[in-house]
């Protein structure tokens, strides 16, 4: 449990938010040409990093907007928050 600084609403309790998993997984540009292995990689395989992880969050019980977060999963410390479409900060 921690506080999240929503880029649209400001600082709110984490329970207002929904975690959306790993960020920057691009949808395949040519889905029809993907092999089964590539589909598995896109759909299921995750880094599941212990340490600094890039992820998506949704302010589900607030503005309902999606945004990105850089968070250290070993201590839940939030390093950066940036809007969808923005470039991730260098780490």
């Amino acid at each position: 449990m921690f506080l999240i600084n929503c880029p649209y609403c400001g600082e709110r309790d984490q329970q207002e938010f929904k975690a959306g998993g790993e960020a920057h997984i691009e949808r395949p540009k040519q889905p029809t040409e993907l092999s089964d292995d590539e589909w598995a990689e896109y759909l299921f395989m995750r880094k599941n990093t212990k340490g600094v992880q890039f992820e998506r969050w949704n302010h589900a019980h607030g503005c309902r907007k999606w945004f990105n977060m850089v968070r250290d999963t070993s201590n839940d410390e939030i390093k950066a928050i940036y809007k969808m479409g923005e470039k991730p900060p260098a780490q």
Binding site: M1, A19, D36, A40, M45, R46, N48, K50, T73, N75
Partner: protein
């Protein structure tokens, strides 16, 4: 030579004030090379080592554990054991484990306090009723004992449940597996450790894996905080940290690691003599032999390795417990803790070979691995020793995420684990 535990050894040691008990397992320094190394000294890892030595004559093996044995999820779960899973593959896997549980204390000469007190699952809406009836039928077709109970029968089996139709989520019925129950989680780790050690397995604690050495597509050994250990076979049983180990070998797994919480109350006199689970309101409760209520809460929805978890998760579970059991309204909670569980997209485990020769993974047990400990160890040992899965864990391979042949317990069975 390992001394046998018996009433006579108890009396003998009582006379010397319990000061001369033999060590249950040694504290060896790692050898330079082993035939196989198990990464992770929890219940599943120790059981794997035990069955490798016992059934496959692999005695030159080691278990490496970064902390102390049984100090991870083995010592953090709510000790529930059952096998009433919907799909054939899961039913086969979990009932295999349950059958081993039934003779485990005798086999290990270690009292794991296995208690077949029954597990009851409650239905709170019409869909629950349909799902649980379907699951009962599926269980019986697979030879697993299961009965469907009406609201009155639920009340009769566990009188402290509030079966009033006026509560927010009334009890509409339930299922009961009488062979299910609980066991003492620490004793399971200790019993398997003692058994494995007696057959020559080295159990190396405070030894963290730092890297996996590969030669092309084969495993050559592991780098640890106690030096390099050469081995051709590495079985990873690292629960929430499976992805961390996989990354060392350049693999990615379909896992997300999340905190799962549990809590116990102050100890009270016997009040609930079974295990009651309710998936719809997410509350499950049993009572330990010490008298504490053992309560399982849910997972947080974000990836975290903090072993903490959020307060609102516990609050939600306790709200549900209080509505179902008004008698507990003045109970005080004694301790709360979290463990990191590795969850697969289909909520079924992975016991599998990988694309790297000699590297095996036993992971993805998510929120319900304890019940499978003996079966998981047995089948994973088979997989490592023969380099082929046993027919009971063949469905739980990594390739199912490529082929699409998932064992979808999450969606279909609505089973909280």
């Amino acid at each position: 030579m390992r001394n046998k535990y018996s009433v006579f050894s108890l009396i003998k040691n009582a006379l010397s004030y319990h000061e001369n008990w033999q060590r249950a397992w040694k504290d060896p320094t790692p050898k330079k090379e082993y035939d196989a190394v198990i990464v992770g000294g929890g219940g599943h890892g120790l059981a794997t080592a035990y069955y490798l030595a016992k059934k496959h004559n692999m005695n030159n093996i080691a278990v490496v554990e970064k902390g102390w044995i049984g100090g991870g999820n083995t010592g953090r779960n709510t000790t529930i054991i059952r096998s009433n899973y919907l799909w054939d593959a899961s039913a086969g896997l979990y009932d295999h484990a349950l059958k081993i549980w039934e003779g485990l204390s005798q086999e290990l000469n270690y009292n794991v306090m296995f208690s077949q007190r029954g597990v009851m699952n409650l239905a709170h809406n019409l869909q629950d009723v349909r799902d649980l009836k379907r699951r009962t039928h599926a269980n019986r077709l697979n030879g697993i004992d299961a009965v469907y109970l009406s609201t009155e029968e639920v009340k009769k089996f566990c009188p402290i449940i509030n079966t009033s139709p006026d509560i927010r989520y009334p009890v509409l019925g339930g299922t009961l597996q009488r062979r299910a129950g609980t066991a003492r989680h620490d004793a399971v780790a200790w019993g398997y450790a003692r058994g494995a050690d007696a057959m020559g397995v080295d159990i190396i604690q405070n030894c963290e894996v730092k890297g996996i050495k590969r030669n092309g597509d084969s495993v050559e050994g592991i780098e640890t905080t106690k030096g390099f250990i050469k081995t051709k076979k590495v079985g990873v049983v690292a629960a929430g940290h499976s992805s961390v180990i996989a990354n060392m070998a350049g693999l990615r797994l379909p896992l997300e690691s999340k905190p799962l919480q549990a809590l116990v109350s102050e100890p009270v006199k016997p009040i609930i003599d079974t295990v009651v689970m309710s998936n719809a309101v997410h509350a499950y409760v049993s009572q330990s032999d010490k008298g504490e209520l053992v309560i399982g809460a849910g997972t947080d929805d974000y990836v975290s390795y903090t072993q903490k978890g959020s307060h609102q998760i516990v609050e939600g579970t306790l709200n549900a417990i209080l509505e179902l059991y008004p008698i507990f309204s003045r109970m005080r909670m004694l301790r709360q803790w979290g463990g990191i569980v590795d969850i697969c997209p289909d909520a079924s485990p992975i016991l599998s070979k990988t694309s790297i020769k000699g590297l095996y993974f036993n992971c993805g047990w998510g929120t319900g691995g304890f019940k499978a400990t003996p079966g998981s160890g047995d089948l994973f040992a088979h997989t490592i020793a023969n380099d082929e899965p046993h027919e009971l864990n063949a469905a739980f391979n990594l390739n199912r995420f490529v082929s699409g042949d998932l064992v979808d317990e999450h969606g279909a069975a609505a089973v909280a684990h």
